[in-house]
C-alpha cells in the first residue's frame, strides 16, 4: 500500500506559507496583503490537520485548533476589511506604501 508521507504535506504547506509571505511583503494593495495572510493561515491549517492525522488521532487537538483558527480568520478578515474601507475613505487609496501619515 502506498501512502503519502507526512513530509509531503509539510512541504506543500511550507510552500503555501512562503507564497503567502511573499504576497504580504511585495504587494502594494492592502486587500492583496490580506489575501496573503489568508494563504498563510491556510498553510497552518493544513499542518494542524496533517499532524492530527499522522501523529495520533486519539487526541482531537489538531482539529480543534483548526476550527479556532478558521473562526479567528473570519473575524480578522471582517475587521481588516472594515479598516481598509475606512482608510480608503480618508486617503482615497489602499496602497500601503502611500499611507505614511505617521512617518517621521
Amino acid at each position: 500500500m502506498t501512502t503519502v508521507p507526512l513530509q509531503a504535506y509539510l512541504i506543500v504547506s511550507a510552500a503555501l506559507f512562503a507564497i503567502g509571505l511573499l504576497g504580504v511583503l511585495i504587494r502594494r494593495n492592502a486587500i492583496a496583503v490580506l489575501l496573503g495572510i489568508e494563504l498563510m493561515l491556510n498553510a497552518a491549517n493544513i499542518n494542524f490537520v496533517a499532524f492530527w492525522r499522522y501523529a495520533g488521532t486519539a487526541n482531537m487537538e489538531g482539529q480543534v485548533f483548526t476550527v479556532i483558527v478558521m473562526t479567528l480568520a473570519a473575524a480578522e478578515a471582517a475587521v481588516a476589511l472594515a479598516i481598509i474601507l475606512n482608510v480608503y475613505r480618508r486617503f482615497k487609496t489602499v496602497n500601503v506604501d502611500q499611507i505614511n501619515l505617521m512617518k517621521g
Binding site: T2, T3, P5, L6, Q7, A8, L10, I11, V12, A14, A15, L16, F17, A18, I19, L21, L22, G23, L25, I26, R27, R28, I31, A32, L34, L35, G36, E38, L39, N42, N45, I46, V49, A50, W52, R53, Y54, T57, M60, Q63, V64, T66, V67, M70, A73, A74, A75, A77, A78, V79, L81, A82, I83, I84, L85, N86, Y88, T93, V94, N95
Partner: protein
Amino acid sequence: MIADLWHQFLSGSFWQPLSFVLLSAGVLLPALAVVFSRNIVHSALWLLPCLVSVAGFFVLLGAELLAGIQLLVYCGGIVVLILFAVMLTYGVGDPDVRAYNQQLWWGLLGVAVFGVLAGFMVTAQGWPSQPGPLPPDVTGRLADALLGPYVFAFEVASVILLVAMVGALVIARWEPSE
C-alpha cells in the same frame, strides 16, 4: 457507512498519492496566481480554487467536517467579503496601477523561509510515515472535544466573533459629519 466506503476507497489504492499530487497543484498554482495577478479582482477569484483544494486536503486527511467548514466559511464567506471590499474601494482594481512595491529583498526573504522550512523537513528524521487507522465518528469526537475540554476556547472564540462583528460595523460606518 458511506464515509467508511470512502476511506477504503482512499486508502486501498494509488488514489491517495494521485489525489495528493493533484491537490498540491490545485493549492500552489492558484496561490501563485493570487500573489502575482496584477488585477486585484483576479487575485481574489484565484483564492477560490486554492481554498477548495485545501478543503480537498482535509477530506484526504479524514477531516470531512473541517472541509465543509472550509467551503462554507472561506469560499462562501471570506472570498465574498473580499470581493465586496474590492468593489467598495473603487479604482484600486485598475491594472495600470503598479501592483508591487520595491521590496525585492523581502520577497527573497520569503523564498529563504521556504528553503529553510523545506530543508528542515526533508532532512529531519523521525516523522511518522504511515497514518494510523482512522477512528470511527471523527466528527462526533471533534464535537466532544470542542464542548468538553476545550469549551473555554470555544466560548472565547464566540465572544471574539461577536466583538469583531460589532467592531467591523462601528469602524466601517459612514459618518458624513466628518
